[in-house]
């Protein structure tokens, strides 16, 4: 009986002190306010994200409306200064670059330069080839373009520029047969400039690097003529 009383009393005492502790603790560090504030802020962030998503959807919807109408409209308008804002707007809706278009543009530019070369308008050809190299450095015709450029410079007797173009070819396309031909041209320029030793060096290099190719026989002939 006594033991029961002590046990009950202890329990009540513990309960009492716990409630006193919690009351004091809540009084000094009430987390409710902060928790509510955090929850409210979290909710606000979610809401603003939600509004943003809705707005983004509206932007996409508008963008698609523009994309639907603009290309056909642009076809009716000349590409002049007055229509620049329209073209600018169209650039926003343009997606991936069209590889086919780029390839055909490259082909056209190179054919144009080649045609000028064939017509022996070497000045024009050199200008067009330079432009082509600058604009489309990854074209498959780039080695040929360098070769024609060096030849064009040679034809208009701009030997220094011709040599620079050939040096670039040696650097970029050391394996190409066109480089071998260009090197023969280099040797020829050295001969013109009274630099026979350098010309011999060049011809020997061509012989060494391209022994099996047709160009080797030309190199041999050139070498013989210099040594004479």
């Amino acid at each position: 009986m006594k033991g029961q009383f002590v046990f009950s009393f202890t329990l009540l005492l513990v309960g009492f002190w716990m409630s006193v502790f919690v009351k004091f603790h809540m009084y000094f560090t009430d987390p409710k306010i902060y928790l509510n504030e955090i929850n409210h802020l979290k909710h606000e962030v979610e809401m603003s994200k939600f509004r943003q998503e809705l707005m983004r959807d509206q932007v996409i919807e508008f963008q698609m409306e523009v994309a639907k109408l603009l290309p056909n409209y642009l076809k009716t308008k000349p590409a002049d200064e007055a229509n620049y804002p329209l073209r600018n707007l169209a650039s926003l809706i343009t997606t991936e670059p069209n590889d086919k278009f780029l390839n055909s543009k490259m082909r056209i530019a190179f054919s144009k330069a080649k045609a000028s070369f064939r017509e022996k308008d070497f000045k024009k050809a050199s200008k067009e080839l330079l432009e082509f190299i600058d604009k489309y450095p990854f074209s498959i015709d780039i080695a040929e373009a360098f070769f024609l450029l060096s030849e064009s410079y040679f034809q208009i007797e701009d030997f220094e520029r011709s040599l620079t173009a050939i040096e670039k070819m040696i650097e970029l396309f050391p394996e190409s047969e066109l480089t071998a031909f260009a090197m023969l041209r280099m040797g020829k320029i050295f001969e013109y400039q009274d630099r026979p030793e350098e010309a011999v060096d060049i011809y020997q290099t061509v012989l060494k690097v391209f022994p099996e190719r047709g160009v080797a026989s030309q190199a041999k002939k050139s070498l013989r003529s210099v040594e004479l």
């Binding site: 998503e53 959807d57 030309q218």
Partner: protein, 247 residues
Amino acid sequence: MKRVTRYFLFLMASVVNVQVQGKSSVLQLPENCSQEVSGLCSIKALKGRGLWEQKEWKVEYGQHSILKRENDGVLRLIKGQFFIQAQEKTIIESKYSKVKLEKGDYVWVELGFDRDMIATVSGDVEVNDLNGGEHKLPAAYSNWFAKINGEGEVNYGSPQPLNFKKLIRHLASISQMEKRQIVALLEGLHDLWVAAIDETQKRSLASSIKLIEQDKLRKKQVAKRLAEIQMERKRIREFFYKKTFLE
């Protein structure tokens, strides 16, 4: 003794700070708009899946999905994954497509960042791309639709049998149907799906044969072009040789 213990437990329970957050798992703009029958209403699922039912449609959506009921009652899907059941003739819009549904049609829509995937689970639906092009999508087929490019052309795929495994996974995670209902739905769909695969295989075979023939033709043309280029190079070489060594 029992009375004392009970009293003690009551005291403890009243002291311990039990906080139950009654936070909603769905955001609505305007507040509680989904209770209304009509009018502009946007919903975003923050946690878990959700269900929104109207007279015309019943839509089940996954976590983080966003959808909107327009003023004219059209349902616009903005982000996420959805299962939509038409309860009347209705139209559903998304970024890159518009789906026309008849009563009883059931579709699965998955919105990606650059394309919308639409799959018909039940019924035959008609999908319009952004340029208004009509695409039929029979049951068990899926297709994707994307944006309009700078040329004014719309990008879209060709109808394919839907991804059955993915459908089961999504139905389990999004749909509020009971298990037996899902099983019944999938059993009904399975035969159509098998037929769709057979048909697609036949189509693929025919188009592969066509592609092989086209490739053969292209290779022939390339070989011809290469021969022309070789001839041209030979001519140039001869020309340079003549210029360099003979003139």
